[in-house]
Symmetry: C2
Subunit: 274 residues, 2 copies
């Protein structure tokens, strides 16, 4: 049994392409339909009602493309709008990026102390804390918003003195709590992996939400017998949509996806119901 339909993935912008990269790594035969709402990125600072509305519009656009699974690759929507989307989308599995990384961390922590970093919205929602406590109520969770990490990554300022100082500013207190696992709760953060690792030290294991989400998607599709036969390149047959073709799109997309996207399609916000 197999299902050749594509996997739908959306994010507020291009950061979700880190999830797509991990999908191609662990399921190279799968096709992806990606949507990045680049006309309204970032969602992080918006109200909960706006985040829910935008997320549902993004989901509906992907559903119109006949997908077999929906991945909400946006931490903000996963944190505050996933239940809302699941209410509206009952015909296919819907997964977010919060739970997979939380499960992996809960399994790995020896000290039972887990750190979580993300945008202000993600941390403020306490979605990771709740997910971790649902898994094991005895876990101690320390979270910290790192709002400058996204612009640093988007500017390509990965390896500068002030990037390291910003990382220290955000992370030193977190390390002092004695955490042994740190969840990167934002799709941009994997690109800062080396700087974060150098700051927190090797005693702390970093958990990349993008990787664990792709792995969970693979597990679910396998369990449902819905994996696409692993021949041919899923990437070559994937499609990438944005709501606005921003000036340095190609460069940013390459940074997140790890390869060039040949053909990016633009849709109007009007077409997704705004």
């Amino acid at each position: 049994m197999s299902d050749s339909r594509p996997i739908g993935v959306f994010d507020s912008g291009l950061g979700g392409l880190t999830v797509v990269r991990e999908i191609f790594r662990c399921m190279p035969g799968e096709r992806v339909i990606y949507f990045g709402d680049t006309a309204r990125v970032p969602y992080g600072g918006r109200s909960v009602s706006a985040i829910k509305r935008f997320g549902m519009q993004d989901a509906r656009f992907l559903l119109s493309m006949d997908i077999k699974m929906l991945i909400v690759a946006c931490n903000t929507v996963s944190s505050v709008g996933l239940a809302h989307i699941r209410e509206g989308v009952t015909e296919i599995p819907v997964i977010g990026v919060v739970l997979p990384g939380s499960r992996a961390a809960a399994l790995r922590t020896a000290e039972r102390k887990i750190g979580v970093i993300g945008t202000r919205a993600t941390v403020g929602s306490e979605a990771y804390t709740q997910a971790l406590h649902n898994i094991d109520n005895g876990l101690r969770v320390y979270s910290k918003a790192c709002p400058l990490f996204v612009p640093l990554v988007e500017e390509g300022l990965i390896d500068t003195d002030f990037t390291r100082m910003v990382a220290q500013h955000y992370l030193y207190e977190l390390v002092d709590t004695g955490i042994d696992c740190l969840i990167l709760g934002c799709t941009h953060y994997p690109l800062l992996m080396e700087t974060i690792l150098a700051t927190v030290g090797t005693r702390v294991q970093l958990l990349d939400s993008a990787f664990w989400t792709a792995k969970e998607a693979a597990d679910i599709l396998s369990a449902l017998g819905a994996r696409h036969p692993e021949h041919g390149s899923g990437f070559a047959e994937s499609r990438f949509f944005v709501s606005d073709k921003t000036p340095n799109f190609d460069q940013v997309a390459r940074r997140f996806l790890g390869q060039e996207i040949q053909d990016i399609e633009t849709i109007e916000l009007e077409d997704i119901g705004e």
Copy 2:
């Protein structure tokens, strides 16, 4: 002769409140209708067509409120979409934030070398360079995008070591060119005035676009005999609209406006034509 109608001011977000603050400083009797498109902020990284479309929608919303003048307090829209808005709005004066600061700098430079800092979109548009060359083609203009300044201001990280390092990273080369005037081509930058001044030194005069724009508005209204009689408080009768009530709105608004806004009204994007 006088005109008691309000002045319409819009920005992609809340930064334009620095222009409103200057309006109340130099014209305390004037009422303002402000619109911040907080559901779609920032415009800086969007395509030119999106910037024009969003700007026109923002303008139309304010026009529906019977204003006597329209101030485009958004550097991005002023840079790439002002002509487009002027084509559609012929009944009242429309001014942007690019020309006023440029005029002031052109009058003040002794070395005839002017620096301009702004977002990537503003600098990329070369709007300040063109405006300055239209005034005096012999001026030498050196511009530099400082994309991290906005998130630093929005996070309130005004006085930190890495803010100073970021300022040095952006500004040292600019100072080496021998400029004696530096235009702050972004509504957020006045809040970094001290850090910028400490970096560039007192040899360089800083020109705040917000201040010069308010001054130009006052000059135009006076010339037209359309100033509101200076009694009563314009602020108390002003109205403030946003397209999304973001979580830390009050705090950010106070930082830009210098005082508390009691009543913020929210409008839906649908209502402005999106």
